[in-house]
């Protein structure tokens, strides 16, 4: 047994503390918002909003109100709006406590690759490079292996980097790994998964 997408998102939500300002990436990270419970978490959308609300009811969509994935969303009582330079000012300035992002590869040194596969269509890095360079804590949520069964947690990334030594915590379907000075530490195993199974599925050094 391993965690599914929702269980990974729920585990990531445990990393968030009351009062945090947080940026969630697209995909599994978006699901984290469903599991914050009673914690007072403010979501940032880097196109210029703090206090992002849920999707609108049908008929209430507003073309002037979208998230960084260009989806229609809603505002909350706490919401504030600002321009893109201010938005990335708070990201670069370390005011955002954490970013939860997907990844293609992570290295044991915390290098992150999640924006480009050479030879394939390159769409751009968007705000990912700014986020990983600027926020307090970078939490990656991804499957432990790719569709060929190969480890996505590597000694060195093979893909072009989004950031160097930027990842603090890796949450996969198999468990939770922390990026330490000499390698990765297993903090937690998913239900029914053993540390040996995580080691076997991981190319990176686990200490």
């Amino acid at each position: 047994m391993a965690w599914d997408r929702n269980q990974m998102a729920a585990r990531a939500a445990q990393e968030l503390e009351d009062g945090m300002y947080v940026n969630l990436g697209i995909g599994i990270p978006t699901l984290v918002a469903n599991y914050v419970g009673d914690k007072d978490i403010t979501l940032q959308s880097e196109n210029g909003m703090l206090g992002m609300g849920p999707f609108p009811f049908e008929g209430d969509e507003d073309p002037d109100l979208i998230n960084a994935g260009k989806q229609t969303i809603t505002e909350l009582a706490r919401t504030s709006y600002f321009d893109s330079a201010t938005s990335f000012g708070m990201i670069r300035g370390g005011k955002i406590a954490a970013a939860i992002l997907g990844a293609m590869e992570v290295s044991e040194k915390g290098d992150l690759a999640n924006w480009m596969i050479p030879g394939k269509l390159v769409k751009g890095m968007g705000g990912a490079m700014d986020l990983v360079a600027g926020v307090g804590r970078v939490i990656v949520v991804m499957d432990h292996t790719n569709k060929h069964g190969e480890s996505k947690v590597l000694k060195e990334c093979t893909l072009p980097l989004t950031g160097k030594a930027v990842v603090d915590l890796i949450i996969t379907n198999l468990g939770v790994l922390e990026v330490g000075h000499k390698g990765l530490h297993i903090l937690e195993c998913a239900e029914g998964v053993t540390p040996d199974e995580i080691r076997a599925a991981t190319e990176a050094t686990i200490v």
């Binding site: 196109n47 073309p63 109100l65 938005s87 990335f88 968007g126 490079m129």
Partner: protein, 234 residues
């Protein structure tokens, strides 16, 4: 001095030229200067470089200028929504300079503030840092990024007064203020122009000093990803 023009085409007269660098506001299709882009298409101006976070979709936004091959180069952070863009880029017809989104916004803001360069941690250790000056501050490495000094800025706001003070609406503000600041000339298209005194001076998002020409028009305001939730959920 009158800043109000009758149409997007009139507002562009005398300031639009082949080969110029244009900074455009907007994020995705939200808050883009759609009327000015349409007018640039009709004027047929060529070899344009656009500093814009995105490149629109095939039939809306900057995408309409790609179809007519009026764009030589894009400076953007994300261009995934546009098939014609990809075709021209892969065939070598179109130049592309990827900038991290925050770096792009700050390059515009900085130029508008008279700052020709700034150091940032964003992109250190990645392809973005190649060929750029590296410098250490307090034991951390930063790279030098340069301001974008545009020939022309085109932006979209919600309301303007006749002096060019602008108010934006919700997330349609996005890149519009920094894009407006970095151009020699800035044209703003708005949904409504009101007389001076009608906007609250404490709630002006961009002061009129940055805005040289204003037009009012009807905006399509297309939605790129319509996402909703069911009412039963609530």
């Amino acid at each position: 001095m009158n800043k109000i023009y009758g149409s997007a085409a009139e507002a562009l007269d005398g300031v639009l030229a082949d080969g110029m660098l244009i900074a455009a506001g907007g994020f995705g299709l939200c808050g883009i200067p759609e009327l000015l882009l349409q007018a640039i298409k009709e004027k047929g101006t060529k070899n344009l470089t656009f500093a814009s976070n995105n490149a629109g979709v095939d039939d809306f936004g900057i995408g309409i200028l790609l179809q007519t091959k009026q764009v030589k180069k894009m400076i953007s952070s994300y261009v995934g929504e546009n098939a014609e863009f990809m075709r021209q880029y892969l065939s070598g017809e179109l130049e592309l300079e990827f900038n991290p989104q925050g770096t792009l916004a700050e390059r515009m803001r900085a130029a508008g503030c008279g700052i020709p360069g700034f150091y940032t941690k964003t992109g250190v250790g990645t392809v973005i840092a190649e060929g750029k000056e590296h410098k250490e501050f307090n034991g951390e490495t930063y790279i030098l990024e340069e301001g974008i000094f545009a020939d022309l800025s085109i932006v979209k706001a919600w309301k303007a007064d006749d002096t060019g003070n602008l108010v934006f609406r919700k997330t349609a503000r996005n890149f519009n203020p920094p894009a407006a600041m970095c151009g020699k000339v800035c044209i703003a298209e708005v949904e409504e122009i009101v007389p001076r005194g009608q906007l609250d001076p404490d709630n002006i998002h961009l002061p009129g000093i940055y805005v040289h020409r204003i037009i009012q028009g009807d905006h399509e305001k297309r939605i790129e990803q319509r996402t909703v939730r069911q009412r039963e959920e609530a």
